[in-house]
Amino acid sequence: MSHRFTPLIELTRARIREFFREPAAIFWVYGFPLIMAVSLGIAFREKPKTQITVDLVSRDGMAPIQSFRDALTADGRFTVRELTDDSWRKRLRDGKTDLVIIPPQAGGSEAVSPADWELWQEPRRAESLFARQAVENVLMKQQGGAPPPIQDQELSEAGSRYIDFLVPGLLGINLMGGGLFGVGFVLVDMRVKKLLKRFLATPLRHGDFLLSVMLSRLIFMLPEICALLGLSWLLFGVSVQGSLLSLVAVVLLGGFAFAGLGLLIASRATTLETASGLLNLLMLPMYVLSGVFFSSDRFPDAVQPFIRALPLTALNDALRGVMLEGLSLAELWRPIVTLVAWGIVSFAVALRIFRW
């Protein structure tokens, strides 16, 4: 018996060669996620929220109360813009200003009651509400109330920025796309080309074949994940709070679950169109629901059990648990069990119904 040629190694090597000879594939797998991470990271680079834009409107040609304006300017947090017409409505609507202040009509008197002040705000914007509180404070001080002594303290814990939230989500969608397309699409392509049938006509073991598809996926995945994590660490200081070993375990588990789903989708589809339709049908809802770009907690409670059961939600929760909260795998048992279940069930069904 000659062991010079091992099907598992030869098949994996062939897949890797094919992959690296396809420049477009390299871009989509490696370039695209990195570009996405960097551009989103830059777009959502959060500066501390200190500047408040307010419009000070004076009606009927009357100058606003001098002392109030001085108090606002002296505060330093406010950018004050003085207007005499109605353009403030549009500015407030467009988010160009956070709050509009219309002082009382009778300008001369210093002793005005706060009830005479009009404060226009946009209650759906946090900045607007914040601006209202700040302006109210200035007015209160002017009324003569001395504030209790306050010492300012700032919380700057790692993992609380948007980029920290985003990177695990991007890792999640990469694992999903890689597993589903990297396994599902590739297998259907081989079926369309009759390559699966050609392999079936040889003594190649089915297990060896499927294992090689998974193994090659895994090998493509490693540089991708290292690049994404490395770059977001270098550029944005995103770090992993939990153990790297746990992270590797979650990544492998996610890759396994989505490879299983990819295999399931590929088990019967006979055209690339069917396959990509099914893959997109599976992926698009998860892009939105599974907490990639924003937390899935924002969806109503009624649909939460469904969202929690999605494999990408489970993967993102587990990744964030390890990366942001430094949780152990045991503490993350719920998403981990969900992922294992998805992987095992889809593999079992796929192997049963797979057509060569």
Partner: protein, 318 residues
Amino acid sequence: MSPAPLAIRCRQLTKTYPGKPPVEAVRGIDLDVPVGECFGLLGPNGAGKTSTMEILEGLLPATSGEVEILGRHWGRDDRAIRERIGVSLQETNLTDKLTVGEIVRLFRSFFQQGLTPDVAIAQVALQEKEQTRFGKLSGGQKQRLAIACALVGDPEILFLDEPTTGLDPQSRRQLWDVISGFKSAGRTVILTTHYMDEAERLCDRVAIVDQGRVIALGSPRQLISQLGSEHVLEPTWQGELPPEEELAQLPSVTKVWHEDGRLALSVAEPHRALPALLDYTRQSQRELASLTTRHATLEDVFVTLTGRHLRDGAQSQS
């Protein structure tokens, strides 16, 4: 002397594809292919050749019937059979990005024993293309590579489904040499084709398949001689065709049939039939438009059996 052991044996093979109505692709085929024979399944597209081949190759389950490959059965000894057969499908698009050498090496890894990749590549004369990627090969080179992948496991039986369809004459001849070489080593070949010249040239025996059944079986020579005569006259006349019965009575004419609105005459001795045909034309006051004489082919066998051509629009070669 005991008969040669059988490489392939099948009995009452049927294949019905479910559907409305169901398609009966294979309707009871019996085959015995002894070891060392080159056996051809000849028939038009849709005759059931590929279904039959895929059942024999273990790629498609038969609806009913028995198949034995080298004395073994599909479903029991699959891996053992697959170690000993080489398959070339009707079309396989191997991966464009891999080179000839890489693809053959990959296929070699699937078999316990076999040729070294270099030897398999040399057998199909692709040494110069070893570093070339599949996507850059010509049609004939791709087909030769497909056969190298079938040969690399050093098979006892080679299954070739339409190995030369769509190839230019030179590529076809190169492939014929490869197949003849394999056969001359005492191995068994079973191939499908709708080229009668290919069947006549390569095959020891052919089965003519039509509508899922074997309608004639024998060596190409035997089948042609069943026509009763080995020559064919194809006269055409200005105006109306003469009645078939009158032509059938001419000396040495054994059969008359219609072919694409013309008449063809099967003739044993052209030197007797030809003068008689010319006399008949003159006496019946007709005018000959053209006259072709040629050797009978398997195409003629098929046409006389079914009234149809092997290939749509295919013309007999003169």
